[in-house]
């Protein structure tokens, strides 16, 4: 077989991006098709139903559930204030002696009152949810009541892993060589509100200093697993991240440990130093993969916004690949052959392999599963 499909991460200086910005439930879209938006602009908002507080009126009044209806002072749908009487018993002999009453502990609305259980459900006021554009671009499509699709032309890097949510800041490269480690002494006041770029690794001290100085984001080749544990206070069991409140967003381009940032990625980031950048660390490896992203919006004409058809990266002779497992982890190479027959590797596993010439000139055989296509 002369070619095969293989997963890969995008690193490109020019891509037409279409980013859905969708509300978690139906609401109001605040922009219209064709609007030019900035990353910080609100594009849609909605209100989440407030929290629900159940109160068992029957128990509180000391009556059976089917009798609660006789004592109610409110009805479903009614707005209530904290302290309002919800239900009140008639008291001893109907004379008002030893009356018991139930008052509302919250502001909100009566959701329902059940005759089967005597339970009232009180709903707190709605919680606003707002969606920002996240990237400079144009509103390409409005999905009524749900959100928008923002389109733009960008330089674009998909990371392999990240933590914390969406941020926007100016790009600043702090190291000279992609092999360099991003240490705390390289970070100073000038990094405030910036998205900073490191090389093969970022140290725990550097991350802590970045948080202290108000850095928005860190882009780096590798990170030590134990440093993430120290930062978060827990071990990441399943790679679903992005919700952390760390104070800085981190995006890793290569993997865990000290791994040189791919030259292509580093060159691209250097080229766009000083540009406004949107990035996030949201990662979900399982079920509906989400990878962290760096988006650097470019100037564009509307006519340039023609998205290429998406396809799976192809592995064939001449394809540039990155080795993603030992041996040679992190090294870039070029595919020289894709033999059809199964091959036995050192672990005695029989697998489909490819032959490649690595950037250090070494020729080697690698399981096909252990490479990632570098999309060009």
């Amino acid at each position: 077989m002369a070619q095969a499909y293989s997963p890969g991460l995008s690193v490109t200086d020019n891509i037409v991006l279409r980013k859905p910005r969708i509300l978690p439930l139906k609401g109001t879209v605040l922009v219209k098709k064709g609007d030019k938006v900035k990353a910080e602009d609100l594009v849609a908002e909605t209100f989440l139903p407030g929290n629900v507080l159940p109160i068992n009126l029957a128990n509180k009044l000391g009556v059976t559930a089917n009798l609660v209806i006789e004592y109610l002072k409110v009805k479903p749908g009614q707005q209530i204030k904290k302290g309002d009487i919800l239900a009140e018993s008639k008291g001893l002999f109907g004379l008002g002696l030893f009356k018991s009453k139930v008052v509302s502990p919250i502001d909100g609305e009566i959701e329902s009152i059940s005759q089967h259980t005597g339970q009232a459900l009180l709903r707190e006021p709605k919680i606003p949810v707002q969606i920002k554009a996240f990237l400079d671009g144009i509103v390409e499509e409005v999905i009524p009541d749900e959100g928008v699709i923002i389109e733009n032309k960008s330089a674009y890097i998909q990371g392999i892993f990240g933590i914390s949510g969406e941020v926007t800041g100016e790009l600043k490269v702090l190291i000279k060589d992609p092999n360099d480690v991003l240490t705390d002494d390289l970070i100073d006041e000038s990094c405030k509100d910036k998205c900073i770029v490191g090389g093969s690794m970022v140290t725990l001290k550097a991350i802590k200093k970045a948080i202290e100085l108000g850095v928005k984001g860190i882009i780096c080749g590798g990170i030590d697993d134990q440093d993430i544990k120290a930062l978060l206070g827990y071990d990441i069991g399943v790679a679903i991240t992005g919700h952390e409140k760390l104070g800085v967003s981190i995006l890793i381009t290569e993997g865990f440990g000290k791994i040189k940032m791919a030259d292509k990625t580093f060159e691209l980031l250097k080229r766009f130093e000083g540009k406004k950048t949107s990035m996030h660390g949201k990662t979900q490896i399982r079920a509906g993969v989400i990878r962290p992203e760096v988006i650097i919006p470019l100037e564009f004409q509307d006519s340039e916004l023609i998205a290429h058809e998406t396809s799976m990266p192809l592995l064939e002779k001449g394809t540039m690949v990155r080795v993603i497992r030992q041996p040679n982890f992190g090294i870039i190479g070029t595919v020289t052959d894709l033999p059809e027959e199964l091959h036995t590797v050192e672990s005695e596993t029989r697998v489909r392999v490819l032959e490649a010439e690595l950037e250090n000139g070494k020729k080697t055989t690698i399981p096909r599963a252990n490479v990632e296509v570098i999309e060009t």
């Binding site: 929290n51 459900l121 392999i160 069991g237 865990f256 399982r286 497992r325 041996p327 005695e348 252990n370």
Partner: protein, 626 residues
């Protein structure tokens, strides 16, 4: 259906990582055989977001390998469909196309459910058993007595976004109030389905039938309410079948319809039933594997324990007791790729390292595990990495088995009448029914077990993780095709059974392990084994050893097994057994390392001891064990 009609069948399993395709062919003189296997990454994510692309890629590989195997370039399984995209060609015309295509799926996180009950360890547990039996991952069990405040329950229901909810509660004629109260909480939470906001969340009510009307009143407007028979009509009885069937129907009608590309895949899966081309429902992978396990237990009249370890989850299946009680558990966060890091978090590093026969830098191991998590499809090319992955697998399996034992219990809350003979019997309702001593067959499946380079490694992983007691047969799913055969059995039992016996189940051999405390250097087992080649194995084996005796696949050996003083191999303390031991690709394993307890040393004697056992077991090349 005659065999002539079904000559070529394709079956796929769309897993969370890879889509695995197999070709099953009817071969003159041999019957049905599995002949070719292909795989490709599953494509339920951006940018492709269409499961059928992965299926086409895997089938494309099948096609190319079939052409190579038969030196026939006319063999073609795919053709251009009406919209110009490639699809599987059915029916077959000579070498063009196949006769049937079936599929299972666990992609996109499988079927995710929440269940509710009134009493957590009665109706709650029955509901959980029904959902698990149907192949679901149970995200949470919410019960009236689960010690959470009502508002906490509502918050929990709101934040979970299940594919569907199963509501149980109350025996027939029992409590209505608590059942309706739970429905009110669900209604207040107004839960949203995981995939797409375009449809109402399906909720199955399988509780007290007298509460039906009140439930309808409470829920019918907000959700897609389906009412079925009570899963716990009386405390003494469980009736899981109707709820499980409803779960399967809804899985097809709602959940699968929402998953990317599944509406297309559902049109592709079809084959002739009674001569008529019929659509064949896609089955959740674990439900298909469960089907197979139940069939083995019933056909052979044995107790079976099976495990399927995947990238994201590990499923354990068991059939125990004379009544063939089937249990399935899914350990949602124990697996060898997506969830590998969680195995480390749950098992802890020392428990993983205890299985590794060399010193390793802890930080390197942690980073290796995290890198596998973020690049789940990679495979260990280096021997050291293979050994580390297998050490992690042992812990994943061990933890999943602990969860299974805790779940596979007799019904709780039963009124038990006891006669005088049972007065001193300690077993109560709610005790585990998993009995490793009476277990006949332990079956392994899933990538790390099915694709281990040496079958001896598979046997070792199964033994170290499950610690079988007495005499237990071991088997493995040769190339991971139980799901495929489980769904194939729905349309053609002959094909499924033939392939299962000839190509799927590989007997590894038999493990003999005496149970009980024993001192070092004392004899733990005396074995006299007459092997099929005429030789006799005769040894008094001290405590703390492993012996591997080759005994061909398909053959048996007559054995007299005498346990050491105070030990038991299944006939009672100190009682000898005379029996036939079944051979296999690995052979007969005599394991006197101890059971109840099994203890690995934590001092410097650990590595030399592991190396000695691994050498005897022939699990790894000698050079790494010297």
């Amino acid at each position: 259906m005659s065999s002539e009609q079904l000559k070529r069948i394709i079956a796929t399993d769309c897993g969370s990582t890879t889509t695995k395709a197999i070709l099953i062919e009817y071969i003159e003189g041999e019957g049905y055989r599995q002949t070719i296997r292909g795989e490709a990454p599953t494509t339920v994510e951006e940018p492709l977001n269409d499961v059928t692309r992965g299926v086409v890629n895997a089938v494309q590989e099948l096609q190319e390998l079939a052409r190579l195997k038969y030196k026939n370039n006319d063999i073609t399984f795919l053709h251009d469909g009406p919209n110009g995209e490639k699809e599987i060609k059915i029916p077959r015309d000579g070498d063009f196309g196949v006769d049937a295509y079936v599929s299972t799926s666990s992609a996109g996180g499988g079927l995710q459910m929440m269940v509710t009950g009134v009493v957590a360890n009665m109706t709650g547990e029955s509901a959980e058993r029904a959902a698990l039996g149907a192949g679901a991952i149970v995200m949470d069990v919410v019960a009236s007595n689960d010690k959470r405040m009502n508002h906490e329950k509502i918050e929990r229901i709101r934040e979970l976004r299940p594919d569907m909810i199963l509501m149980a509660g109350g025996v027939d004629g029992g409590t209505i109030k608590h059942v309706v109260e739970m429905a009110e909480l669900v209604s207040a939470a107004d839960p949203r389905p995981r995939l797409g906001a375009a449809y109402k969340l399906p909720i199955i009510f399988a509780g007290n039938q007298s509460a039906k009307e009140a439930i309808q009143e409470t829920l019918a407007e907000k959700v897609e309410l389906i009412i079925t028979e009570n899963i716990r009509p009386t405390l003494e009885n469980e009736n899981l079948g109707p709820a499980r069937d409803k779960i399967h129907d809804l899985f097809m009608e709602h959940v699968m319809q929402q998953a990317p590309g599944y509406h297309k895949l559902m049109e592709w899966t079809r084959g002739p039933i009674n001569g008529k081309m019929t659509n064949i429902p896609i089955m959740p992978t674990p439900a298909a594997v469960g089907n197979i396990m139940k069939t083995i237990a019933k056909e052979e009249n044995i107790e079976v324990l099976g495990v399927d370890i995947g990238g994201a989850t590990t499923d354990v299946f068991s059939v125990f007791t004379d009544e063939y009680i089937f249990n399935r558990t899914v350990s949602a966060n124990l697996g060898m790729s997506y969830s590998i890091s969680n195995v480390l978090a749950s098992a802890t590093l020392p428990n993983i390292i205890r299985w590794v026969p060399f010193d390793i830098n802890e930080s390197d191991l942690r980073n290796m595990i995290k890198n596998k998590m973020i690049r789940p499809t990679t495979i260990p090319a280096l021997l050291e990495e293979l050994i580390l992955e297998q050490a992690i697998a042992k812990e994943a399996l061990r933890l999943a088995f602990i969860q299974h034992k805790e779940f596979a219990v007799s019904l709780k809350g039963m009124q038990q009448t006891r006669d005088i003979s049972q007065a001193f019997d300690q077993s109560t309702s709610g005790a585990t029914i998993v009995n490793m001593m009476t277990l006949d067959l332990l079956v392994g499946s899933g990538g790390v077990l099915s694709h281990a380079p040496r079958r001896n490694q598979t046997a070792m992983m199964l033994i170290d993780a499950f610690l079988p007691e007495g005499v237990t047969r071991l088997a493995v799913d040769s190339i991971f095709m139980m799901p495929h055969l489980g769904v194939l059995a729905e349309i053609n039992t002959t094909a499924a059974t033939e392939v299962f016996n000839k190509d799927c189940m590989v007997m590894l051999g038999t493990c003999v392990a005496p149970v009980g405390k024993c001192k070092k250097d004392t004899i733990a087992l005396t074995a006299e084994i007459n092997l099929p080649d005429g030789t006799v194995f005769n040894e008094a084996i001290p405590f703390g050893e492993v012996r591997l005796i080759p005994c061909e696949l398909g053959k048996t050996a007559k054995a007299k097994l005498t346990p050491g003083k105070g030990l038991d191999i299944g006939a009672g303390k100190n009682e000898a057994r005379e029996m036939e031991l079944v051979g296999g690709i690995v052979g007969i394993i005599l394991d006197t390392r101890g059971r109840n307890p099994f203890v690995l040393p934590s001092d410097s004697s650990r590595i030399p001891l592991l190396k000695k056992w691994m050498k005897e077991f022939k699990v790894y090349p000698e050079h790494i064990l010297n």
